[in-house]
Amino acid sequence: MAGRNITKKIGALKFSVLSPTEIRKMSATKVITADTYDDDGFPITMGLMDQRLSVIEPGLRCKTCGLKVGKDKCPGHFGHIDLAMPVIHVGFVKTIRNSLRATCRKCGRILLSDKELEEYRKTIIKNSSEGRDNAYMFKMIISSATKTDACPRCGAISGKIDLDKPTSFRENGKKLTPTEIREWLEKIPDEDLPLLDINVHSARPEWMVLTVLPVPPVTVRPSVTLETGERSEDDLTHKLVDVIRINQRLQENRDAGAPQLIVEDLWELLQYHVTTYLDNQTSGIPPARHRSGRPLKTLAQRLKGKEGRFRSNLSGKRVNFSARTVISPDPNLSINEIGVPAEIARELTIPVRVTTQNLEWCKNLIKQTAQGEKPGDNYRPHVNYVKRYREGVEQRMKVTEKNSDDISEKLELGFIIERQLMDGDIALFNRQPSLHRMSMMAHRVKVMPNRSFRFNLSVCPPYNADFDGDEMNLHVLQGEEAKAEAEILMKVQENLMSPRFGGIIIGGLHDHISGCFLLTYQDKTFSKEKTSEILATFKYKGKFPEIHEENGESVVYGKDIFSVLLPKNLNIEYKAKACFHCEVCKAAECPNGAYVIVKNGKLKQGIVDENSIGAFKGRIVERIIRDHGTTAGRMFIDDVTRLGIAVVTVIGFTTSIDDEDIPTEAKRQIEEGLQKAQNKINTLVAAYEHGELESLPGRSLEETLEMEIMRVTGRARDMAGEIASKYLGLNNSAVIMAKSGARGSMLNLSQMCGCVGQQAVRGERISRGYKYRTLPHFKKGDLGASAKGFVANSYKSGLNPTEYFFHSMGGREGLVDTAVRTSRSGYMQRRLVNALEDLKVESDGTVRHTGGEIIQFRYGEDGVDPTRSTAGKAVDLDRIIYDVKQEE
């Protein structure tokens, strides 16, 4: 925005270890007092809250830079603590250990001959120039140097270095003090450091033994004032207090010439405090605790993990101009739109720069603010703020009812008004978990009454949303580039095709499919009036479909009504969902009407169902998107869904418990079949008990029996389903839904009216519970069907208590499964994204890492975008050839 035209780009970040001199140099003050505030509540000089380490109270000025906390942004200044005795830095213990083991205690050189060193040096340089990992080389250097007994240069005998976790070292069993270690490390010459994986320009091994401790600025560890006026300090401050206190005592004792033992104890204590200050989860030492018993959150804990600085604050950021509320469906909205509650629209704003073109409009908008809101009024956007820049300084005025006229008058070119959301604005809509890019799409705003976000039902699948209380987020775009990009790339209509498999993911659902099925099934006709009624729902403006005379009545064929939506040049043939999968497909002569033929935009024959318009499968929708673009596709989906609903409304469509009624004859047949299965199981069990059962290769007898019984019960359920479906015809709403793919399956139906079937836990019949039996209702060792979880009843006839219990067991397994699965697959996806996020297709068609490393020479071996592919194929040959044949 204005006044901030220069955007600086960070080129690189370099990491290095702070040297003691550097710590002192950047320090604003030495900290010597363990206290924070004096009795008047004023920060003590040279204490932990010294005002030179920046300030936290608003209004106060930092004594180092003179800036305030709020607007001026004092960055904060470090202080330092001079440690009386050096201590080891926990994070570098491993490096210190390796350095001690690999170098001579006398001359500080690596315990290898010059020749060997030179060789290692060469390989390391070669490896890094080739971009290879050197970790193995360093390991080799350290292990071979450790094995050397005497220094090849000065002949000094090297001892055995042991590390007592976490921070103390022993040489041949004798303790090495940090002072000694530091002296030793100082001796290591610069030229040997690269061989120990230390960069001379960024670190020296002796810096890993701390002599000075940096004190972070107050802004990093702000204290909170409670309502009672009490001050509550940050965990870091607490820890620093401990360090300073012990440091002081150590110094006093040492200066006073206290016994060695006491000094050593205090030194150890200082080491403990510094260690826990850096990382409070170091294994081997108890974590430092707060008075309440809660472990302190020190430096490492602040960075680590999901709630740490990195993942919580740096990789994820909080935003303004966003809203969240419950979602609900609205079939009258286009799939591109989103209904935003007026209450939210009044809160979210879009910056608009005042120009000559829009000056009057802006003034008007501001004036509207004064008119306020009356119940029953149409929503009109107001202006919340007016901003202007004077000499680079931003001035922001709130527009109220009182001052709106005034501001409106004063409005000049170059001002920026923050206007409320209005119809047609573009906004991002998102539902978590955001598993793929379609979880965040751009919608056109439509401001509406009431308090929920509303959108078209067809958009549920990409968001994986339902309306059982789901909430979703809305983000309003602020910049022109962002708006343009969202419009071109993120709008719902641009995301109709899924990049996952090159098919549509937005299409008709449930009632839309039932409706189109009813419309096109057999030769359904509608009267002229009904036809108009249906066509009116999607504001059809074209020619009225052909009217036929039948039995003295003028009627319109359902197929003709559907054809109204199809583009004139559409030619396609495919099998409908209702296909019976006959052995030999008669194609155009399909007796079930399941072979769809569209010629020149007219539905000649076939049923329109899930395979035509459904999400994931709709062939017609897919073809329209490919041939006529996304706008046509969006309009088709909008219209076809409305058409479906209109048909369902006109014809009437309902399902209830009597859809599961089957004649007594069917019931008898099912019972008979189940009895047969029962008998078969009994014979199997008997055969097993008499040892007559023959086992399958590589299986035990028990396993064979189980497999056989599972097969019998499975078949019994299928049999019940077959009998039931024989008596349930396409005049049954539930069957219509199952066959057209609108909802449910024939399996669901057969479980409702035939037989529920075998319940399984871990893929086996239910076997656990009591000793040798599942429930005390059965005999011990009973291997029969009902004792092991076979439910012979249907959901409609009702389950008996044992069946109900077994059914619940199966159900519970499913629930546990889902719970475990979500976390496991979530983690897998996180890892996948992390591993692949840096890949991009370059202009030359290769796939490279952002570092430049080539992963593929041509994306996907053919360079085709999966989104644009036809079910993965680069070119839809079948279609081209079909078109060729059509032309003849």
């Binding site: 320009h201 670190a203 996952r500 996948l832 992390n834 068609g845 796939v847 593929q856 040959l877």
Partner: protein
């Protein structure tokens, strides 16, 4: 700013002029099933590197001129194979049979190649046209239209430069994960063998575990072996591990401190083991002597003692008589159009391939590391693709091959099989911030400071952390419009 990527104007013609750039890895040869070809290469290298390879290439030259791209990946896989010392084989793997294309196919193919005029079309598409045109004579006349239309559509369907294909791929594989079953065991094809499927298997593949939780092999047979049930059975016996307890009863004689092994005639015959063979195996155990007495094997200890007797008894029980280590069970099945195929529970690719009668070109295992060791990194890549795709499609999930390929290529890009995760790809990233943001934050930061690493902020995670636009998609384009005319600058 150093830009390693050559910026080429990506017009259609330019790409085409380069001639078909072949695939991501070295000598991948089109047309044939990938698995076959890759194995061929690996095998031929192991035997006689140069000569065989030429043969393979010439064999395929007929189909299409193959653009050879040598990459540094080759060195890694080549080295691996060459340094391995092949034990003397008793037989040579059979030569590959290249199926001659029918003459009319060849003619159509030549016609298409003429029609496309150096414009690139994927081989699968050309194959598709050839096949369809051969089936339907009428189409031959329309070939020109079909090829032109295909070229047009192909050009339209190309992926956009700067597309974040990695993220899309990761999402496309990760998102269906929520719809997969957790059930570990399922029956795949062969009802008798349990195989890990669903989400656990997918995680296993992505993790590049050193051995799968349910190793399994599909062992295809050659020529007469696959039609003759007895020969197939013989191979199965050679493969399946047979322990002493499986074929004999072992009895301890506590009085004489001996062990007598009574072979079960029937099973011995079934497994094709002669008693002398058994004796030989028993004698190979240390500190005992054995001899045959009336069809039983008597074992006497060199140093008698009850404790030793007990221990020897245990070792004898588990003694391997025949078979290959790691293969617990085999099942022979007759497959249509194929003949006998051996399915095994447990896997040991190296030794199975050494058995005569096993078809080394088609035999597979689900142990990806074993494939990488024995057949090279290219084969491992293909197996990752195959296994991941099989796992996903078994669950009825439709995921584009290109996404799976990308994951497989990332895992194998440096010549070794790397896991997706902190011990593999993510842990070896060059960016400090990206690594720190993923896992084990503190250690990465400390190590980076010690090494004086610098983060060039090229990747996604780094740029998000510092609050800059990411270098992908629209963020990769540096195009700025100067909104002010230079004159009005003073205003």
């Amino acid at each position: 700013m150093a830009k390693p990527v050559p910026k080429k104007n990506r017009t259609q013609k330019k790409v085409e002029k380069k001639k078909p750039v072949k695939l991501a890895k070295p000598k991948i040869i089109p047309v044939k099933t990938k698995k076959q070809v890759v194995k061929t290469i690996a095998k031929s290298k192991a035997l006689k590197p140069t000569k065989k390879l030429q043969k393979v290439e010439t064999a395929l030259e007929k189909k299409k001129p193959v653009e050879k791209k040598t990459k540094k990946v080759t060195t890694a896989s080549e080295k691996k194979i060459e340094k391995k010392k092949e034990p003397e084989r008793t037989f040579l793997p059979p030569p590959i049979k290249t199926v001659e294309e029918p003459k009319e196919y060849k003619m159509i193919r030549a016609e298409i190649n003429k029609l496309r005029k150096n414009h690139f079309l994927p081989i699968s598409i050309i194959d598709g046209i050839v096949e369809r045109a051969a089936r339907d004579k009428k189409l031959e006349a329309k070939l020109k239209y079909i090829v032109e239309k295909s070229l047009e559509e192909y050009a339209k369907n190309l992926i956009d430069p700067t597309e974040a294909c990695g993220i899309i791929g990761a999402q496309s594989i990760g998102e269906p994960g929520t719809q997969m079953t957790m059930r570990t065991f399922h029956y795949a094809g062969v009802a008798e063998i349990n195989v890990t499927l669903g989400l656990p298997r997918l995680i296993e593949i992505v993790d590049a575990r050193s051995s799968p939780s349910t190793p399994m092999m599909n062992i295809y047979l050659r020529d007469e072996y696959r039609v003759n049930p007895d020969l197939a059975k013989e191979i199965a016996n050679k493969i399946e591990i047979t322990r002493l307890t499986d074929v004999a009863d072992i009895e301890m004689d506590l009085v004489n401190i001996t062990i007598s092994i009574k072979p079960n005639k029937k099973t011995m015959e079934k497994k094709g083991i002669a008693i002398n063979e058994l004796l030989g195996r028993v004698q190979s155990v240390r500190k005992l002597s054995a001899k045959i007495e009336k069809e039983t094997v008597k074992v006497t200890l060199d140093e008698p003692g009850y404790k030793i007797l007990q221990n020897t008894n245990e070792t004898l029980k588990n003694l391997k008589i025949k078979g290959i280590d790691g293969i617990k069970r085999v099942i022979i099945r007759k497959e249509p159009n194929e003949g006998y195929v051996i399915y095994s529970e447990g896997s040991n690719l190296k030794e199975v391939l050494d058995i005569e009668g096993v078809d080394p070109y088609r035999t597979t295992t689900n142990d990806i590391h074993a494939i990488a060791r024995e057949l090279g990194i290219e084969a491992a890549r293909n197996m990752i693709i195959h296994e991941a795709n099989a796992t996903l499609s078994e669950q009825g999930l439709n995921v584009d091959m290109r996404h799976i390929m990308l994951v497989a290529d990332v895992m194998t890009a440096d010549g070794t099989v790397r896991a997706i995760g902190r011990h593999g790809v993510s842990g070896e990233k060059s960016s400090v911030l990206s690594r720190a943001a993923f896992e084990i934050t503190v250690n990465h930061l400390l190590l980076a400071s010690q090494r004086g690493e610098s983060d060039e902020l090229n990747g996604v995670a780094e740029n998000i952390i510092v609050g800059q636009p990411v270098n992908l998609g629209t963020g990769a384009i540096e195009l700025v419009m100067n909104t002010r005319k230079p004159k009005q600058k003073g205003k």
